[in-house]
């Protein structure tokens, strides 16, 4: 095992040095960023490996870990969208709903064991995918509204609330956010070998098992993301937090 770690370390060092060398020869800038991202990945994944190793022995820790991941995912997404605190709650709810629905199905059917070893990586994948869907759909919603603001005003001028007017833009934004996943799923095995599949093969699983797990992830993501995108685009405010105090009044207890 120790020997394996050393070999991995040597390989990583060579890979990184080779990448830097190529960049230097090719006159590419951003060498520093490349180095930093490589080192960050090294530190982060090592830490995560330690944490997960601990969790595999203390299953209650898995929930804590996933909970933190959820919060961080909602935070990241909402920051990308530029949402308010209230929007953060909605994004969290949207991600949670997508992840919960998917995880419930794979657990109830017994496709995945109710054990940290199986649940943690699967759920983490779902959280990551749902986060991407929330970001893409939310950003898209606000971009569309900004681009077609005259139309948005048209709905509002007829008595639609800001939320109702936003709904006219929600469906398209949600659809658009699902294309990357659908493309990825369509091309799985043809254009790319997806991550879980590669990982399982490297870890010694049979190709058949690797395919099963990968399918659960890919198709699970389709469900998680469609739920998350649909909810995100309907719940968050379609316009940045506007509505600064319009008519300042004498300060009054709220």
């Amino acid at each position: 095992m120790d020997e394996q770690v050393v070999r991995t370390g040597v390989a990583l060092g060579l890979l990184l040095i080779a990448a830097l060398a190529v960049m230097t020869v090719g006159g590419l800038t951003y060498r520093r960023e490349l180095l930093v991202s490589g080192l960050r990945a090294l530190v982060q994944l090592s830490l995560v490996a330690l944490v997960i190793a601990w969790i595999f022995n203390h299953s209650e820790g898995a929930f804590l870990y996933l909970g933190l991941m959820l919060l961080a995912a909602a935070f990241t997404s909402n920051r990308r969208i530029g949402g308010s605190l209230r929007d953060w709650w909605y994004v969290l709810l949207a991600i949670l709903a997508g992840v919960a629905a998917t995880t419930t199905i794979v657990l109830v059917t017994g496709a995945i064991d109710f054990s940290p070893q199986a649940l943690l990586p699967f759920t983490a994948q779902m959280i990551g995918g749902a986060m991407t869907a929330a970001s893409l759909s939310g950003v898209r919603l606000r971009d569309d509204v900004r681009e077609r603001f005259a139309e948005f005003e048209g709905y509002v001028a007829l008595g639609a609330s800001v939320q109702q007017a936003g709904r006219e833009f929600a469906r398209r934004a949600a659809e658009q956010s699902l294309f990357p996943s659908m493309d990825q799923t369509k091309s799985a095995g043809l254009v790319t070998l997806p991550g879980a599949f590669v990982g399982l093969l490297l870890g010694g699983a049979t190709p058949l098992l690797a395919a099963q797990i990968q399918l659960l992830v890919l198709i699970g993501l389709l469900l998680a993301q469609s739920i998350t995108s649909t909810l995100t685009t309907r719940l968050i405010s379609p316009v940045p937090t506007i509505l600064a105090p319009r008519f300042p009044r004498a300060a009054k207890a709220a």
Partner: protein, 261 residues
């Protein structure tokens, strides 16, 4: 005029508008009469459109805007904490400078407002009625399912007006409704405005002085100027009966503006 309540649609008292730290309109007070057309005229940057958009709270959608003063519609404070802003916007409709039809059929453009309120019956009758009122029925009766953006600019603008009529707007706020149209289409909108103003209040922002002269019952002239050390900002120079303002303005600045055009 008899009592205020009967004849006044909007009553504005010391209305000031700023965007962030920038004051754009200072202390406007006036009473816009009920019925007929009241026009806001004046050079660019005098705050006409900003003022118009206060009258149905469309300015709520603008970031950093601050409106002070009091605006009443038929005696009701439009900015009261418990004001139903969606209801206000239904009662006080708006037509924009560029026709902003929805990416749907002609029919669905008009049905949007009523459907929003849960109306599902008699939509056909309502759609026809509104299109007739907007003088568009003869042109589109056979193409109600056609995408609205395929209509001509003038037809689109009349569709937008018909859409506002479908939610029973008592007032139409029109922000340069003819600015993007050719002369013939512009004239059609003008005639429509005059017709509609027989039964409701129309407030019009326009740069076309000839048009304002033809259609207005009352006129407000706004101008931006530098006063002392302050930043340049708009204010109301003169408000009154259209004949009086156009033919015998009280303020020298109004006279100068009218003759310079």
């Amino acid at each position: 005029m008899t009592g205020d309540r009967v004849d006044v649609a909007f009553s504005l008292a010391a209305v000031s508008i700023s965007y962030g730290p920038q004051l754009v309109l200072d202390a406007v007070s006036m009473k816009i009469p009920k019925g007929g057309i009241t026009s806001f005229i004046g050079p660019n940057g005098s705050g006409k459109t900003s003022l118009l958009r206060c009258l149905n709270r469309m300015n709520d959608l603008v970031a950093n805007i601050r409106v002070r003063g009091r605006i009443e519609y038929q005696g009701e404070d439009l900015n009261a904490p418990d004001a139903d802003v969606e209801a206000i916007r239904r009662r006080i409709g708006m037509v924009f400078q560029r026709p902003n039809v929805f990416p749907r059929s002609v029919y669905d453009n008009i049905a949007y407002g009523p459907r929003l309120r849960g109306r599902t019956t008699d939509l056909d009758t309502l759609v026809e009625h509104c299109l007739r009122q907007a003088g568009l029925w003869a042109e589109v009766r056979s193409q109600l399912s056609r995408p609205a953006h395929e209509l001509s600019g003038g037809q689109q603008q009349r569709l937008v007006i018909a859409r506002a009529l479908a939610v029973q707007s008592e007032v139409l706020l029109m922000d340069e409704p003819c600015a993007a149209l050719d002369p013939a289409a512009s004239l059609a909108i003008e005639q429509l405005m005059v017709e509609l103003a027989q039964e409701r209040t129309v407030v019009l922002v326009t740069h076309d002085l000839a048009q304002a002269r033809r259609v207005s019952g009352h006129v407000a002239f706004l101008q931006a100027e530098q006063v002392g050390q302050e930043q340049r900002h708009g204010h109301l120079v003169e408000f009154g009966d259209a004949d009086q303002v156009f033919n015998d303005p009280i303020d020298e600045r109004t006279r100068a503006y009218l003759t310079s055009r």
